[in-house]
Amino acid sequence: MHALSKYIAKRLLWTLPTLLIVAVMVFFLVRMIPGDPAQLILGDGASPEEVASLRTDLGLDQPVPVQFVYWLGNVIQGDLGQSISNGAAVLPLMLDRFQVSATIVLVAVGLATLIAIPAGLIAAWRQNDHVDIAVVAVSTLLMSVPSFWLGLVLLLAFGLKLGWLPVVGFVPFTENPWTAITYVILPVVTLMLIEVGVLTRMMRASAIEILRLEYVMHARAKGLSERKVLLRHVLPNAFAPTWTMIGLVLGGLLGGIAVLETVFTLPGLGRLLVDAIFARDYPVVQGCLLFTAVIYVIVNLIVDLCYPLFDPRVTAS
C-alpha cells in the first residue's frame, strides 16, 4: 500500500509542471499572433480609449513575466475573460459546450470498448485463422476511414435517403430525452465505429503477447477451460495497454471532435473553438486551447492513477 500511495503522490506532483507549461504555451501562443493583444481582444470596433484602458487592465505596460502571472492568477480563479463576439464569460460558455462533446465521446468510447475487448480477445485466441483475419481486416478498415467522411455517409444513408433520423441540429437531453437521443445516434455510432477499429487492434496485439507467456501455458496445463484461461488470466493482463489507449483516445477526443460536430452541426466544444478561430475571438480561442489541454492532462492522469488496478507491477518499479 505504501508503494501505491507513493506512486499516486509522484504522479500527482508530476502533473503540476505539465499544467504550468501548458499554461505558458497557451499564453504565448495568443501573444504570438501579430498585433496588439488589447486590440485583438476588443476587436476592430473598439475605441482607442477602450484599448488603452484594457492595456492597463491586462498589464501590457508591465514586463511579460508579470503579465503571465497576472493572467494565470485570473485563470486559476476561473476568469478566462469574455467572448469578443457576444460578451459572454468564456468559462461557462465552454462548460456548456463541453457537455455536448463529452456526452457523445463518453458514450461512443464506452460502447467501442465493450465491443473491442471481446473482439480483440477472440481474435488473439484464434490468431491467424479466418475469424482473426476477419476481425483484423474490419478493424483496420474502420481505423482508416476519416470520421467526418463516415459521418457524412451515414448521414446520407440514414438521414437523407432512408429518412430514419434527423439530419441537422441538436436538442438538449433535459428538454426532450427521446428526441435528444435521435439527434446524437449518428454522431455516436460514427465515432464508435472508428474507435472500435483502434481499440480492437490494441486489445488483440496485447492479448497475443500475453497468450505467449509461460503462465498461460501453465494455466492450460492445470486443466483450466479455455474460457477460464482467457477471462481470468489473459483479459486482466491484456487490458492494461488497451486502458492506456482508451485514455489517449478519450483525452484527444474530449476537446477535439470539431470535424464531427461540423458534419452533424452539434454545438460542441470543438466547434466553439473553430468558430472562435474564424471570428478572431481570441479570449475564446485561448480558453478552449487551455481547457482542452487541461482535460487531456487530467484524463491521462486519471488513467495512470487507475493503472495499478490492472497492473500491480507499475507501483513496484
Binding site: N128, T140, M143, P146, L155, V274, V285
Partner: protein, 271 residues
C-alpha cells in the same frame, strides 16, 4: 525471395495507386482542375466526366488527382520536417544527456501534453490557413514523438561496445553519432514515419474540411468534402469520392505500417 505478407502487398498497391495519381496530376489531368464551367454544374458521373462535376462545373477526377498531389506534398514535407527536427534533437538529447537533455525533454513533454491536432489548430491561429502553415504546425506537433524514439535508441546504443570502440579509435563525437549511433535508430524511425504519414494525411484533410487547412480554390480532399456537404443530397458523388481517396491512403499506410512493424519488431510477428 522472401514471400511478402498480404498486408505489405495490398498496402503497397494502394499507395502506389494514390502516389501515381499524385505524380500524374503534376503533368496531366483530364480537365483543368480549376476550370469553372457553369453549363456543366453538378453533373452526375458520365463517360465525359467519370466521377461527375462539382458546383462550379469542375471535373471531380481532375480535382481528386490534384488533391492527391496537394495531400502528398503536405504529408511528405511535414513528415520530413518532423523527422529532421525530432532526429537532431533526439540525437542531441540522448547523446549529451545532462542539462541539454532535460531542457529538450521538458519541451517535448509540453508539446505532447497537447493532442496533436489541437496543437496544430493552435499554431494555425498564428499562421492563418495556408499550406506552409499546416506543414510547420503539424511538423512541430509531431516532432516530439520522433525525439522520444530517437533518444531511447541512442540511450541504448551509446553503451554498446562498437560505439565505445569508435570513440577509442579517435573518431570525433559527431562522426560516432552519425555513423554508429544513428543507423540504430533507422528502423524505429521508418516505422514511426509511416504511421505519421497517415496522421498527417488525416489531420490535413480534417483541417481543410474545417476550412483551416489548404484554402480553396486549390483542391484538397478535405476542402472538396467540405464543399460537398452542402450538395450531399443533390450530388452524393461529390461527397463519396474524396472520402474514398482518404480512406484508401490511410488503409494503405496502416497495412504497410503493420508489415514494417512485423519485420522490424519480431515480438509482434503475426505469422
Amino acid at each position: 525471395m522472401i514471400r511478402q505478407p498480404a498486408n505489405m502487398i495490398i498496402g503497397s498497391i494502394l499507395l502506389i495507386f494514390i502516389g501515381g495519381m499524385a505524380l500524374l496530376a503534376l503533368i496531366w489531368t483530364p480537365y483543368d482542375p480549376a476550370a469553372i464551367k457553369l453549363v456543366a454544374r453538378l453533373k452526375p458521373p458520365s463517360p465525359d466526366y467519370w466521377l461527375g462535376t462539382d458546383e462550379f462545373g469542375r471535373d471531380v477526377v481532375s480535382r481528386l488527382m490534384a488533391g492527391a498531389s496537394q495531400s502528398m506534398i503536405v504529408a511528405v514535407l511535414t513528415v520530413a520536417l518532423a523527422i529532421t527536427v525530432g532526429t537532431i534533437t533526439g540525437l542531441i538529447a540522448g547523446y549529451t544527456r545532462g542539462l541539454v537533455d532535460r531542457i529538450l525533454m521538458v519541451f517535448s513533454d509540453a508539446l505532447l501534453a497537447f493532442p496533436g491536432t489541437l496543437l496544430a489548430l493552435g499554431l494555425m491561429v498564428i499562421s492563418g490557413p495556408n499550406k506552409y502553415g499546416i506543414i510547420l504546425a503539424l511538423g512541430i506537433a509531431y516532432s516530439p514523438s520522433v525525439l522520444r524514439v530517437v533518444r531511447a535508441s541512442v540511450l541504448s546504443a551509446r553503451e554498446r561496445e562498437y560505439v565505445e570502440a569508435s570513440r577509442v579509435i579517435g573518431n570525433s563525437e559527431a562522426a560516432t553519432m552519425f555513423f554508429h549511433v544513428l543507423p540504430n535508430c533507422i528502423a524505429p524511425i521508418v516505422v514511426l514515419a509511416t504511421s505519421m504519414f497517415g496522421w498527417v494525411v488525416l489531420a490535413e484533410s480534417g483541417l481543410s474540411f474545417l476550412g483551416l487547412g489548404v484554402p480553396p480554390p486549390a483542391p484538397t480532399w478535405g476542402n472538396m468534402l467540405s464543399a460537398a456537404r452542402t450538395y450531399i443530397e443533390k450530388a452524393p458523388w461529390l461527397g463519396l469520392a474524396p472520402g474514398i481517396c482518404i480512406s484508401m491512403t490511410l488503409l494503405g499506410i496502416n497495412l504497410l505500417g503493420d508489415a514494417l512493424r512485423d519485420r522490424f519488431d519480431p515480438r509482434m510477428e503475426q505469422r
